[in-house]
């Protein structure tokens, strides 16, 4: 008889969650960030509804500072798979010239990502939004329900979460309120990589090591991805063999020096590493509870 592996169980759980949303929410959307977790989530969604098309659109909140290779990957993947994608950019932020170099990581992330996301959710009136967050990523994420309630102001109240028993999810909401739904809650970073490997899921090549132009700033290796990056006097981009453990806005995402050019090598490096995955992210360092605070304000 078929004996399910750990990954097959995780897969079934995620599919169950997605079908639940499709069957009970009026206007769901799947947040697509182009990263590895989003790629796994999207792959699972295609499994969940096969042979039907996805019963909801995807949405990317584009801060205009993503790595160029991410956008290329997005365009190609969406076209090849005939998916329905909404790209939302916070035009107010663009008009004000908000960016990570001129305004710092906190303001940039808040305006272009958090405010941009809230704008988009309001604009389209989505009542449920899938996100690819995992509980093993960070302390406040470890506390969040799979179906996570948001007030009409998109706020999360971590001190007053709904009970969530077995695989029965309470997604009843009033007008204006919404749900953030996390189908990958119980996956670990290792599970994600292993699944990508087993299922041959396409990912952005930035995850694999290659010679790339970087400068070292505040202990972080920043890739010079375009000419919007102002170089300090004496700063000279250096070609280094690097890769990225997470992907986001290029000025805020630190590279790691690496020689891992295949998936098994990435996994090997990840297992032997001594630092956590979010360590390369500038936005997580602002303060200890910064993720919780951002989440309360509406960040994913």
């Amino acid at each position: 008889m078929t004996k399910l592996t750990h990954l097959q169980r995780l897969e079934a759980e995620s599919i169950h969650i997605m079908r639940e949303v499709a069957a009970t929410c009026d206007n769901p959307v799947m947040l697509y960030s182009i990263g590895k977790d989003s790629s796994v989530m999207l792959h699972l969604a295609m499994k969940a509804f096969h042979p039907s098309k996805l019963p909801f659109p995807l949405m990317h909140v584009d801060t205009t500072w993503k790595f160029r290779e991410m956008i290329e990957f997005r365009e190609k993947f969406i076209a090849e798979n005939n998916l329905d994608l909404i790209v939302h950019i916070n035009q107010d932020g663009v008009d004000q010239g908000i960016g990570p170099f001129s305004h710092g990581s906190a303001t940039h992330t808040d305006v272009m990502k958090t405010q941009g996301l809230k704008q988009a959710l309001d604009k389209y009136g989505f009542d449920a939004a899938f996100g690819g967050a995992r509980r093993d990523e960070e302390k406040s994420r470890a506390k969040e329900r799979i179906f996570s309630f948001r007030s009409a102001q998109h706020r999360w109240d971590p001190k007053n979460q709904r009970p969530e028993l077995w695989n029965i999810y309470n997604n009843r909401i009033q007008k204006g309120e919404s749900m953030r739904v996390f189908p990958l809650s119980n996956w670990t970073e290792l599970d994600i990589w292993q699944y990508i490997h087993l299922e041959n899921i396409p990912i952005v090549p930035l995850y694999l090591a290659k010679k790339r132009p970087v400068v070292e700033r505040d202990g972080m290796l920043v890739m010079v991805d375009d000419d919007r990056m102002p170089l300090n006097p004496g700063e000279e981009p250096e070609m280094k063999m690097v890769r990225f453990r997470t992907l986001g806005c290029y000025p805020l995402t630190g590279a790691v020096e690496s020689t891992a050019t295949t998936l098994p090598e990435i996994i090997q490096e990840m297992l032997l590493t001594k630092t956590s995955e979010r360590q390369g992210r500038a936005i997580d360092k602002d303060s200890n509870a910064s993720m919780e605070q951002k989440k309360q304000e509406g960040y994913f």
Binding site: M1, H50, S52, E164, T275, Q293
Partner: protein, 391 residues
């Protein structure tokens, strides 16, 4: 940090294999068994400390996290500047500020034998519903008891609730043994008390371990302080406890979650198999309509299956066009579940407003939400004494 006590042989073996044979390591990972457990018990029994210790001793704390922990221990720790492992798990600002656990936190770790998800649950009475949330997805409950205090109200309350939610295996961890000079009789008194209390519960296994989460005794290593104890350490118990439930051998049933209709030619029923197995050609009955048909195919993105088993998420097509919608049950024709609109149940009431018999409520029965009423309340269980009280 790098004291030899933490250098467990299996970790060394694991990282050797990772370095030399990553493909082989990944294959092993794929087939590793998996356990979900919770830690529960009263406030200050050391639940968060225990999980912090398990993660720390299994070397699952990254350097950047460790640096944060050292920093936080000095700033807000409760161990006089020593490592406060509870800070690894208490992730909300309000929790760290007040030094309590408000909501359940999920942590992930693995050894060479098993992968684990542990839910650290709050001990305060006002957060009992969060404890229940954590318990509902677990197979094993690790119930912590402070060796100095013995069984408390919360121990009884938590034991009763986790058992009612379906947990069949209890591990009673008698913690803070260091504070009773590792005395055997302290341990034995609590064991005896708990066994007599648990006679009224429905656990299929109860195991006892004396330990000190703070000092590390009997967590991964036995240590030298309790030579009188010959049982397994907590970790080796968790690695070996058998929680298989033979779900696959029960009659087939699947709750229809979503009707899959891409076009006029395809109509499938998507859902997760609740129990049993199914094959093309099997006769089924749809409930509550009691219409019957035969399974035509089991459709997945990866191709059609010859067989599907409990816990798999699939889409089933049938030979006949019968009316089935979300919330219906597809089951084995000869061993079908009973259908009824009245039943008796034990309810854990979580809302601040009291339950009122006669008042209409929405009842969510897995995939269906219906209105219903509680006709009468037969008795209330006093979760502290387990006595029945008038409704």
């Amino acid at each position: 940090m790098s004291d030899s006590k933490n250098d467990k042989s299996y970790e060394v073996a694991q990282s050797d294999q990772i370095a030399s044979d990553i493909e082989g390591y990944l294959k092993d990972q794929e087939h590793k068994s998996f356990l979900r457990f919770i830690t529960c018990g009263s406030v200050d029994d050391g639940k968060s400390t225990l999980i912090g210790r398990l993660l720390y001793d299994s070397k699952l704390i990254f350097e950047d996290q460790l640096a944060t922990l050292e920093n936080d221990s000095k700033k807000v720790g409760t161990q006089g500047g020593d490592m406060d492992f509870a800070l690894l798990v208490d992730g909300l600002a309000a929790e760290r500020e007040q030094g309590i656990t408000i909501d359940v936190a999920y942590r992930f770790f693995s050894t060479d034998k098993r992968k684990f998800i542990v839910a650290d649950t709050p001990g305060h009475e006002q957060y009992t519903r969060n404890m229940a949330t954590g318990a509902s997805s677990a197979d094993v409950a690790v119930l912590l008891i402070d060796a100095r205090k013995g069984i408390l109200t919360q121990t009884r309350r938590h034991s009763y609730i986790v058992n009612l939610l379906g947990i069949r295996h209890a591990v009673v961890a008698i913690n803070k043994m260091d504070l009773v000079d590792y005395a055997q009789d302290a341990y034995e008194t609590i064991e005896k008390d708990y066994r007599s209390f648990a006679e009224n519960l429905n656990f299929s296994s109860i195991t006892f371990v004396p330990l000190s989460a703070l000092k590390g005794d009997n967590i991964i290593d036995s240590g030298d302080n309790m030579d009188w104890y010959e049982g397994p350490t907590l970790m080796s118990l968790l690695e070996t406890i058998d929680v298989s439930n033979q779900k696959e051998e029960n009659p087939f049933s699947m709750l229809v979650q979503w009707v899959n209709r891409p076009d006029l030619d395809f109509r499938g029923f998507s859902g997760t198999i609740a129990s049993g197995t199914i094959k093309p050609g099997d006769k089924i009955i749809a409930l509550p309509s009691a219409k019957t048909s035969t399974v035509k195919s089991i459709v997945t993105y990866d191709g059609e299956l010859d067989e599907a088993v409990a816990d798999q998420a699939v889409t089933i097509t049938l030979e006949d066009e019968i009316d089935i919608s979300r919330g219906d049950v597809i089951s084995e024709i000869n061993r079908r579940p009973e259908t009824t609109d009245q039943f008796q149940a034990q309810i854990i009431w979580m809302h601040d407003q009291p339950m009122l018999p006669g008042r209409p409520y929405l009842i969510k029965t897995t995939n269906k939400t219906v209105t219903g009423k509680v006709t009468s309340l037969k008795y209330k269980v006093n979760v502290n004494s387990l006595e029945h009280e008038a409704g």
